[in-house]
């Protein structure tokens, strides 16, 4: 991995595994001026702790930067992207966590290497104990996905479906219907090698796990294509996906706010349109 980073133009590389104490020491000893990391749950945590140790600032979700008077000026969204801010870190190192899919990956240049410096990593006292780990359901990660197919509350509304007779509870009937609906969404996602997203309404109703939620209190995504099926487009949902390059909306309600941010819109029955689209794209794209 270190070699790969070298080929992408990083000149000095250090093998950094998280324990916070020595990450802080390493940065202090190196006199690092700027630290760039991706924005993930773990890096947010590492950066936060290091910032306390070194009395400096952390700027997560960086979407742009410029260098002014020897300082990095970072641009990041606040209020779930409703507003942007430009921010400077006065202390050293200036810590920036880069939002995924915002900056282009540099091409690997064969033969180009960086210097690898080995450091002694004395891990301080670790108080917590990891008891277990369960990898997430296989599939494309929402934040890294180039294409996302999303379902909303409308996914459970197929009037032509009759739940099996042994399901008597009304809510369970709705969930069963939603599962059939999300199966259609997943089929389209599979053809497009896409991740599956959902609106808060769909998550709160118990159709899909919270991990799939896109929006202000879910994941903020910025894919090349976002296909919203049965998603009305509440302001909190739009906040999580409106920077997608192309938005396609399929909804039976012509007044749904999602159409206002969409490039292509279909007013229609998603239970008919989505499978037809899956079939069509499967043939046309040879998948």
């Amino acid at each position: 991995m270190v070699r790969q980073l070298g080929q992408r133009g990083k000149s000095s590389l250090q093998d950094v595994r998280p324990p916070k104490d020595w990450a802080s020491k390493l940065l202090r000893d190196a006199g690092a001026e700027v630290l760039f990391l991706p924005t993930t749950g773990r890096t947010r945590e590492l950066a936060a702790a290091v910032a306390v140790d070194l009395e400096t600032g952390v700027v997560p979700d960086l979407v742009g930067f410029e260098v002014k008077d020897g300082k990095v000026v970072g641009t990041r969204p606040i209020y779930a992207g409703k507003v942007m801010e430009k921010v400077v870190v006065g202390a050293k190192p200036q810590i920036f966590l880069i939002r995924s899919r915002v900056f282009l990956k540099p091409e690997a240049q064969a033969g180009k290497t960086g210097t690898v410096k080995k450091v002694d990593a004395a891990v301080g006292e670790v108080k917590t104990e990891v008891l277990g780990y369960k990898a997430a359901e296989a599939g494309v990660s929402l934040t890294d996905a180039a294409v996302i197919v999303s379902g909303g509350r409308g996914v459970s509304n197929n009037p032509k479906l009759a739940p099996p007779a042994d399901i008597t509870d009304e809510h369970q009937k709705e969930i069963w219907k939603a599962q059939q609906g999300f199966a259609l969404i997943r089929e389209l996602a599979t053809v497009l090698k896409a991740a599956v997203g959902a609106s808060r309404a769909a998550v709160d109703a118990g159709y899909v796990p919270y991990a799939n939620q896109v929006g202000q209190t879910g994941k903020v995504v910025s894919p090349d294509v976002y296909i919203a099926c049965g998603v009305s487009g509440a302001i909190q949902h739009l906040a999580g996906m409106r920077t997608s390059k192309t938005i396609v909306a399929i909804n039976k309600d012509p007044e749904a706010p999602i159409f206002k941010v969409s490039r292509f819109g279909v007013v229609g029955d998603l239970f008919e349109v989505v499978p037809a689209l899956t079939k069509e794209l499967k043939t046309k794209m040879g998948r």
Binding site: G41, P60, V130, G132, Y133, R263, F264
Partner: protein, 260 residues
């Protein structure tokens, strides 16, 4: 179990947030308790209900942040403290974490400090870890479930929702726990709770009260806020006689425009 829940006041997530005169404006949208913090308050209350003790809501903010604290009281928190000081108005998470840690130390005897995973205004999500770092406590972030709690042995076990999977971690107490919305469903404040909260006197501590006679400068300086570039979209409606016809037309357009 003596528990602190840290809350922040933010504009409602349904608010239309704009930039006016170089400042962020949410018009007349209501200021509410940060939605993530409601989950933290609920988990704090459930922990107290199961194991006894008390829950103290703590906030750092302007005098107006009282409303967020009152919401926590109305949900059922036993006490509340507001740390408010003119010197803290321009604080970033580095400074706020210092104030929160100092207030938690002043309260004393705390086993657990619950936080929402992030605030919906600044969206940084670093404060819980920073408070833990300052207190020298373990930080359990992105907690989706508390699976075990042993008040006598002073340990807690949690499930963390990481980007790529779920991790089970056991930690000694005291600890900081930041929660995701999977952890529980927040209760609505009861009528009695609202009445109690409206009558409560909330102690306000200054920076000097928590031993921060000199407030360190913020590490961040905000140069400007601006509206995100307007995304001009003109929707092209795809119509046809049948779902198949619509799908064929849409697929053709997506491929033509090299969208897919």
């Amino acid at each position: 179990m003596n528990i602190v829940v840290c809350v922040k006041q933010t504009p409602d997530t349904a608010a239309t947030v704009t930039v006016e005169g170089g400042k962020v404006s949410w018009g007349d949208a209501p200021l509410v308790i940060n939605p993530w913090d409601e989950f933290a308050a609920e988990q704090a209350l459930r922990t107290k209900e199961a194991y006894g003790g008390k829950v103290i809501a703590l906030s750092v903010g302007p005098d107006a942040a009282r409303e967020a604290v009152k919401h926590a009281l109305a949900m059922g928190c036993d006490e509340a403290v507001l740390v408010s000081d003119p010197g803290l108005l321009a604080a970033d998470s580095l400074v706020v974490s210092k104030a929160l840690a100092a207030a938690i130390e002043k309260i004393g005897g705390i086993d657990l400090a619950f936080f929402g995973r992030q605030a919906v205004d600044s969206d940084t999500g670093v404060t819980p870890v920073q408070v833990a770092r300052r207190l020298g406590w373990p930080a359990l972030t992105l907690v989706a479930a508390v699976t075990a709690l042993d008040p006598a042995g002073k340990t807690i076990s949690v499930d963390r929702a990481l980007d790529e999977g779920r991790q089970q971690v056991k930690s000694p107490l005291p600890a900081v726990v930041s929660v995701t919305k999977e952890i529980c469903e927040p209760r609505y404040p009861s009528f009695m709770g609202i009445r109690k909260a409206s009558k409560a006197t909330i102690p306000v501590w200054s920076a000097a009260d928590i031993g921060m006679a000199s407030i360190p400068p913020a590490a961040l300086s905000w140069l400007e806020v601006f509206a995100p570039p307007k995304i001009e979209t003109k929707v092209e409606m795809i119509t046809g006689d049948s779902a198949e016809a619509v799908a064929a037309k849409l697929a053709a357009r997506l491929l033509e425009e090299k969208v897919l």
